[in-house]
């Protein structure tokens, strides 16, 4: 039996807002080099899980990255540990130019040559960003902002990316484009934890999928296996 290299390990994770439990005793793992997706309806607790991994909100249970416990690590140091997070709603700095948005993500990096190469790589993935380097982030369309958000996460040069609903608010054509790029990024070596409401698309590209329903995992399995599962549909309909 080959040993699987686990990059992110979440054990008995619970998250509460005031007295309401948003996430209830969840455990899952992300193997190095894989795309793992958490799917579920609005309010299932998906975003909360990513926010906990990034150190943005308090939680109970344990989250370990590459064997290192992340419990008391500040959010900015989690980037240094190796995790980049594309937040819900993209989180573009509207008062900064596209180039400044990308450069800010290099805050902890000192490798100038590699930064320039990575910037070139981002512009190859998203040619539209190259045309708009001097424009303010707030002037971009939704799709362009999503590209910038993913580009920014790539500029942190971390092995792992957390993507929170990259398809939100995008046209079907753009959704397909973004998912194609997520696959490309993964094939280039990044480990990806993808949170989505768009179950079909994300299960299609994921190696492993978890279905969430009101803060609990109700179903898990290889991405392809889950695609046709009636249980997935039920999770969305609250069945």
């Amino acid at each position: 039996m080959t040993k699987i290299d686990i990059l992110l390990s979440v054990r008995s994770l619970s998250i509460s807002y005031d007295s309401i439990k948003a996430v209830d005793d969840i455990s899952f793992e992300v193997a190095r080099g894989e795309i793992v997706t958490l799917i579920g309806a609005n309010g299932a607790g998906k975003s909360s899980i990513l926010r906990a991994v990034s150190g943005l909100i308090p939680y109970t249970g344990s989250i370990a990255y590459a064997g290192k416990d992340l419990m008391n690590i500040a959010a900015d140091q989690i980037v240094a540990a190796g995790i980049a997070h594309v937040p819900e709603g993209r989180g573009i700095f509207g008062n900064l130019t596209v180039l400044e948005n990308l450069k800010l993500a290099c805050w902890q990096r000192r490798d100038k040559a590699k930064i320039a190469a990575d910037l070139e790589h981002v512009f190859e993935l998203f040619p539209r960003l190259r045309e708009r380097t001097k424009q303010l982030g707030g002037m971009l369309s939704g799709g362009e902002q999503q590209m910038l958000a993913v580009g920014r996460a790539l500029m942190t040069d971390t092995p792992m990316l957390l993507l929170d609903e990259p398809s939100m608010g995008l046209s079907p054509v753009l959704v397909r484009e973004i998912f194609k790029i997520i696959q490309e990024i993964n094939q280039a070596g990044k480990t990806i934890l993808l949170v989505e409401q768009n179950a079909n698309m994300s299960l299609h590209i994921a190696h492993q999928g978890y279905v969430l329903e009101t803060g609990r995992i109700v179903l898990s399995g290889a991405g392809k296996e889950l695609t046709g599962s009636p249980r997935v549909k039920e999770a969305y309909l609250g069945g």
Partner: protein
Amino acid sequence: MAYIFQQALNALQLGSIYALIALGYTMVYGILTMINFAHGDLFMVGAFFCFIIAVYLHLSFIPTLLLSMMGVAFLGVVIERFAYKPLRNAPRVSAIITALGVGLFLENFTLALSPYPKHIPPLLTNVTWTVGSLSLSSLQMIVIVLSLCLMLILDFIVRHTKAGMAMRAISWDKTVVPLMGVSVNKIISLTFAIGTGLGGAAGVMYGLAYPVIDPYMGIMVGWKAFICAVVGGIGNIRGAMIGGFILGGVEIMVAAFLPSTYRDFVAFTLLLILLIVRPYGILGKPHPQKV
């Protein structure tokens, strides 16, 4: 004509001091959306640091200015860390009341140490050049040029350095900044250091121009500088500078042509009218809706 030019120089001098103080208000508001009402009193502390360093350490002008700036900057960072940081997620009004309390503390602490007004010794020999009917004072020139230099440096930092980029990012959306690997606490500390340091510099220069200082000197000047920041568009750095020069100009011109008791009344009336016409200030924009 010479009279007007003379008054314009006076306006530049007063305006640059207002502008330096207004920058502190606007920078803190930009990143924390809170008004640091202790800022005027930090300006006063800057003048007292200048007095202490000049009288007891016998240092010359430049080291006095730098040490005073550093002292006030340090005090600003400490105040943020212990008085404001615990309230960062509290309602803004709590933070603002705390700031008023910190201001009162600074005034009364200084008053306890120094119940009588102090006189700052002349750190610079003031040379007056006479050109025609115009008299140029070296002191006035130094205040104007130094203030402008400090403002240019600040503008450069905010627009063209990584730290400035992080400050602007925080002013847009504080919650996403840590995801870029940036420590929000460090940038907030840096912003307080720079903002209060400029206030300290203004205190030193004010002390040079008007050498009698007392613990309450920061109140009125602080309020005026705050109004400058609002008129320029609170949160906007260049706006604060413009606001400072506008108020300096209006005050000097009113005093030059009307009885000087009209000064504050006319100045504030004009500023109120300006705010009615442009409620967000000269360079301010209505806060964008984030989607």
